[in-house]
Symmetry: C2
Subunit: 486 residues, 2 copies
């Protein structure tokens, strides 16, 4: 795809919104409302011959009657009308279109014919299309929120390309929950014209994007996809779900986006070769994608674990071993250093159990000591931040009144905050990742305006709700690091 | 263990709290505060020779000087003082003790000796002990919240026995998040005297308990455990994590509770034979435990999936197939019935994609139709409830002001609420489980006072954040049903 079409798609100065509606229950209203909510920086021209004004915007009877140049058309008219709209867009000189409308190849028969017709007209006129049957495209540097559900991500460096709209909104939801921002969100739908590999090529050069997540049900041109991916993965990590890997899943994929799923083991082998980090579910995709934004890659698989309780330490050790990490035996020197920090009865092993040693500065000093150790390539920290949360989340009605409202004045909470703040510095000083997991993270509600988890949110550092997830994340970083030959 | 000791432990009329402190950072203060917050129904007698009053309660210089009979002693004094306190308790005729204090067998050497001494004194005097090195015991019917972290569960029918205190608080946290209540929470610690199998025996007959969760690092008497479990599992489901299954995990377990972990494959075989539902992590344990509270067991493995979007449907199909469920082909009759409910272009397959058919009553009618189908043993519903959440969770600052505050007046939200309310009736009418998964659940904040997820919370029905979790839950119900020979 030429640069022009990409810039008209991701950095449009103006959008024609074709199929606008006054009915608040219709996508022709909801999506326009989302675009306005998102504070799109350019001009918006709604189109509908039957309306004069919607949401405070002048409505044009047709695309051709828009008085100014248009970069991007967002199309929500019914399937039989789409080809006509595309022809009008071509005549108007519009270079890009996002076809939200469903009811094309995924239905077979007439739907497939309509889809082919639409693509032929667009391509013949130098216009490129996203969709049909897609949830939209978000391009955060220009505040472009073309999206069906009313969910708005924050701006950041994570991109997603997805053959499922669901998976886009699931990812945005996780981003909003954990404070991770996006650069571009692309719901590619049926991929009648532009395919996921086209977007991969765009993201390769996109300065806004550091990490790419992908959800794929089927490849139209698997060879091309993996060739591009292999090149991209050397510069930017790709974390991918390949769905439709079982017979039941493949069947579902066929009726979803008309995708043919192909062999699972072949895909696995190609991912390994291309350096794609393949994952099994949305949480893993998001967890690993988020980690790759700010975590340095470990130089090996040796992990040091710090825990604020034994059970989580045991579960993390099991999970690390299963994920292929080495819960390393700490050197005598490291043990001696930890002796200086921890109470006399500490367990002298890995995981390092802070027990009651979770005192002022104790956590920070332990992290420092493990990072400094030559036996350790990365550190998992379990259970941090709980003091703020147990104070806040006591559910017993009688307890509520006893909860201190200024929990951030608690010296131990202040200590947690200071420790969390130092994490980026520590990681860059030692070039080693620090992966956090804590129940408290799962309990910390989105709206917190203060406290340790707000600090993490602001730094886009996730704290995973399960020790297993931290292990999986660190193992993925280690494998990717090995692929890159670092 | 005789009934007397169990009733003094789980239904005490009075508690001696030995080792009370005025220092708000010490467990001697925090735990007493939690007991008071929890509104314990009986008398509390704090003990410390150096204090007169703590938290408004008269403090006694010693156990022997408490003027009234005492059922249970909670002991938080340092390790070398514990045996002396136990001896005093025995002299006072106290039948049960919870030893919170750590620093015993898990440290080896002198710690092990102190632990043996303490047990000998207790047993000699007819007193039974929980711990040492434990987080506490909660017995919800008498509001007994003997617990280290200030986290209070709701009352319900889920019990947990755990060799890790962490895992107890992790479970309570999940309960509070999803609205699931507990009967008893038992942190068994080093199990110097009472073992997890003793508690299993108690829970077998406990009228407050419907479902038992267990976290075990090592069995002292594996044969006895599995014999008891086999009997219990016929009456009440047991969902268990066996940790320390890798070398790294076993090593960590040894320093945590001095447990010896044993062979993983042997444990697996014994679990299958005893009908124990074995799981790998805390989320699975809680998810499956919660489902068993109110979901009828499916008669087979055939699942019908309803989805509000294709991608989640594909992921759920893959996950079901991998979990051993059969994403069944729907009968012509069922398809015809669905034709009456859904738009003409619906996908006519399983998963049933509601697409724009998510209209008034559509979801409810689809659930009904699938439950009625003779091809279907259980239904997974994906994506329900999203309309309330997208309205609420839009993170864009400009959007906040556009969000309707009375989102529950939205007719589609009202419809979701009505559908959710009917779930228990539908399940009992057809004797088939309805398992929900939705991103919206993960986004729905704990504090919601209204809306569809509040309705689910009030019914103790979970909505899982990932389709994979719903599949795992339904598959576990199916396997347990097969074990019971239903």
């Amino acid at each position: 795809m030429d640069t022009n079409s990409f810039s008209s798609l991701f950095s449009p100065r103006s959008i024609a919104f074709v199929g606008v509606s006054k009915d608040v229950r219709k996508w022709g209203f909801i999506i326009l409302n989302n675009i306005i909510r998102g504070q799109f920086q350019g001009s918006i021209y709604p189109v509908n011959p039957k309306e004069k004004e919607v949401l405070g915007l002048k409505v044009y009877p047709s695309v051709s009657e828009i008085p100014k140049p248009v970069d991007l058309a967002v199309i929500v008219v019914p399937p039989p009308a789409v080809s006509g709209v595309v022809a009008e867009c071509v005549a108007k000189g519009i270079k890009s279109g996002i076809v939200i409308t469903a009811g094309f190849a995924e239905l077979g028969g007439e739907g497939r014919r309509l889809q082919e017709e639409m693509v032929k007209i667009a391509r013949g006129g130098g216009m490129r299309l996203v969709g049909p049957n897609c949830l939209g495209v978000l391009s955060m540097d220009v505040n472009m929120h073309v999206i069906m559900p009313s969910i708005h991500p924050m701006r950041g460096s994570l991109a997603i390309i997805s053959q499922s709209g669901n998976v886009v909104s699931s990812s945005i939801a996780r981003g909003n929950r954990w404070g991770i921002g996006f650069s571009r969100c692309i719901s590619s739908g049926n991929e009648a014209d532009l395919h996921c590999e086209d977007f991969l090529e765009f993201l390769e050069e996109d300065h806004e994007t550091k990490v790419i997540m992908a959800y794929v049900e089927g490849f139209r041109d698997g060879r091309r996809f993996f060739n591009i991916a292999k090149r991209v993965a050397k510069r930017k990590p790709i974390v991918m779900i390949k769905a439709g890997t079982t017979e039941a899943g493949a069947q579902a994929a066929k009726s979803h986006t008309a995708a043919l799923s192909g062999s699972d083991s072949a895909c696995d082998a190609m991912c390994k070769q291309a350096g794609i980090i393949r994952v099994q579910n949305i949480d893993d995709m998001f967890n690993i994608g988020a980690a790759l934004l700010h975590q340095p890659l470990p130089r090996g698989r040796r992990v040091g674990i710090i825990t604020a309780g034994g059970g989580w330490g045991v579960l993390a050790s099991d999970a690390c071993a299963k994920a292929g990490l080495d819960v390393v035996r700490l050197s005598d020197e490291t043990i001696r250093e930890l002796n200086e920090i921890l109470p006399a009865w500490w367990n002298r092993g890995n995981p390092v159990d802070l027990v009651t040693g979770f005192q002022r500065g104790g956590l920070r000093n332990c992290i420092n000591t493990l990072l400094r150790s030559r036996q350790v390539d990365g550190v998992i920290v379990l259970g941090a931040g709980f003091r703020a949360v147990t104070e806040r989340l006591s559910r017993h009605p009688e307890a509520e009144s006893h909860v201190s409202s200024d929990f951030t004045s608690n010296p131990m909470v202040i200590d947690d905050i200071a420790t969390f703040r130092e994490i980026p510095t520590l990681m860059s000083r030692y070039g080693k990742p620090i992966v956090l997991a804590s129940d408290s993270a799962a309990m910390a509600e989105v709206g917190w305006e203060s406290g340790p988890f707000k600090v993490l949110r602001d730094m886009e550092i996730m704290c995973y709700p399960l020790p297993d997830q931290a292990a999986e994340v660190l193992a993925s970083l280690a494998r990717y690091s090995e692929y890159l030959g670092r």
